[in-house]
Symmetry: C2
């Protein structure tokens, strides 16, 4: 049985500040928690129905996490989902450091104030699909551990490294270290298909509402655009969609 | 002032069945309704705050729509949004017919049971960006006029033709009429980048949960996959993201 204090603690993790202060985040549902158990992320504790615990017994034991059997009623009280799904887990936010020296031979993605958790999650999922293991976000980007972001990553969150730092100094440091292209995705830039850019490079994607900031466009070495069809009145593409299209084109080039 | 009957009628349009019976759909918010006014879609009536009506006076007169000034309170009562945004419009569902004879020189998209309104809207927006003007959906796909779909299209809904029909007979008819490729997007198919497919062609995309049905894969002439990076554990890409990546690659080929 869950104590009132424990329920209060678990519920308090729905707030970003508490998650940051505690260095923890929540993962819910059968599939996401299975992905978590198969990842290198350290698990703090797991709250689940008896049937789920029986099924994942071996993995749970190996994880070293505290395991608490809960009733459906208790799960409803701690869950942030409208329909709780058997298990609620608490995991430690990984303490990894952005090492600029490890980026030279990679395709690296930087996100400038992406604010929608669904978009952030989709981008992390896209990153993993295309073999990007490092994403650098501006400090005002939506939190990685927002429960909606966690859900939308479909587990990729546990395998892609995401960092938050001021992007302008980061880009300058990157440029000082490498001769790789720094590509800004903009409207009205050079045709993506005709541009000569190849990985390794740094790809800068802007926010849903304002695109990339002028200072980031200024420090970039290429400005690229996904060409719209002649006569198209669509104003833009979603940032997740744009990221996928550009990254796919870079991967196609090898 | 809005009569109780009118309010009841407008609210009844939140149900798919009523929209279908009446042949109407709702569009909300300053930007979407501005796009609607600039489109060929016939508008039934507009319910808006006085300031909005003053601003769009000329376009409203040209549209021939009934215009009703409402208070913020009234707008709240008829709106399906959590934060109503100045205007609520009712438009006629366009009565267009899928003409197989018009498709031979185009890139045509077919969606098999796409069920999420956000995904459907994103795909319509992607279609317009890349110059696709015809989308054919299986009858069980999410309704085009679902308010969440309408919002997510960002206006592209008013300029792209979307039809609902059984896909297997449609594909067979397409194949009888044209020698164009019929490409099924699947997991474990041929590498998209290495495949020889070019537009004009028919591209089949499957549902979020089940992918393409076996009978559609069977009638396709190419099975293509967006290659994942070696070692990627991501299971799939979102259907909107996949659509964008494949369509972009076809457009790149010209």
């Amino acid at each position: 049985m869950l104590s009132t204090n424990r329920i209060k603690f678990l519920r308090s993790l729905s707030a970003k500040k508490t998650r940051a202060d505690e260095g923890l985040f929540t993962v819910e549902g059968v599939k996401p928690v299975a992905e978590l158990l198969g990842s290198p992320i350290k698990i703090h504790s797991v709250y689940a129905l008896n049937g789920w615990i029986m099924e994942y017994n071996t993995q749970l034991a190996a994880s070293g996490a505290e395991v608490v059997t809960v009733t459906e009623k208790e799960l409803e009280r701690i869950s942030q989902l409208s329909t709780p799904n058997q298990v609620f887990a608490l995991a430690h936010q990984p303490q990894t450091i952005l090492n600029i020296n490890a980026l030279g031979d990679k395709l690296v993605l930087a996100l400038d104030d992406v604010s929608d958790p669904g978009n952030m999650g989709t981008i992390i999922r896209i990153a993993e699909w295309f073999g990007i293991d490092t994403i650098v976000c501006s400090p005002n980007s939506v939190e990685l551990y927002n429960p909606k972001t966690v859900q939308a990553t479909m587990g990729s969150l546990f395998r892609v490294h995401v960092f938050y730092t001021e992007l302008k100094p980061f880009v300058e440091e990157y440029k000082a270290a490498y001769n790789n292209p720094v590509c800004a995705a903009v409207l009205g830039g050079d045709d993506l298909y005709a541009s000569p850019i190849k990985a390794p490079c740094l790809l800068l994607m802007g926010s849903e509402s304002h695109g990339l900031s002028a200072e980031l466009i200024n420090v970039s070495t290429y400005k690229i655009t996904i060409p719209a069809a002649v006569g198209s009145k669509a104003e833009s593409l979603n940032v997740g969609v744009s990221t996928a299209v550009i990254v796919s084109e870079l991967r196609r080039r090898g």
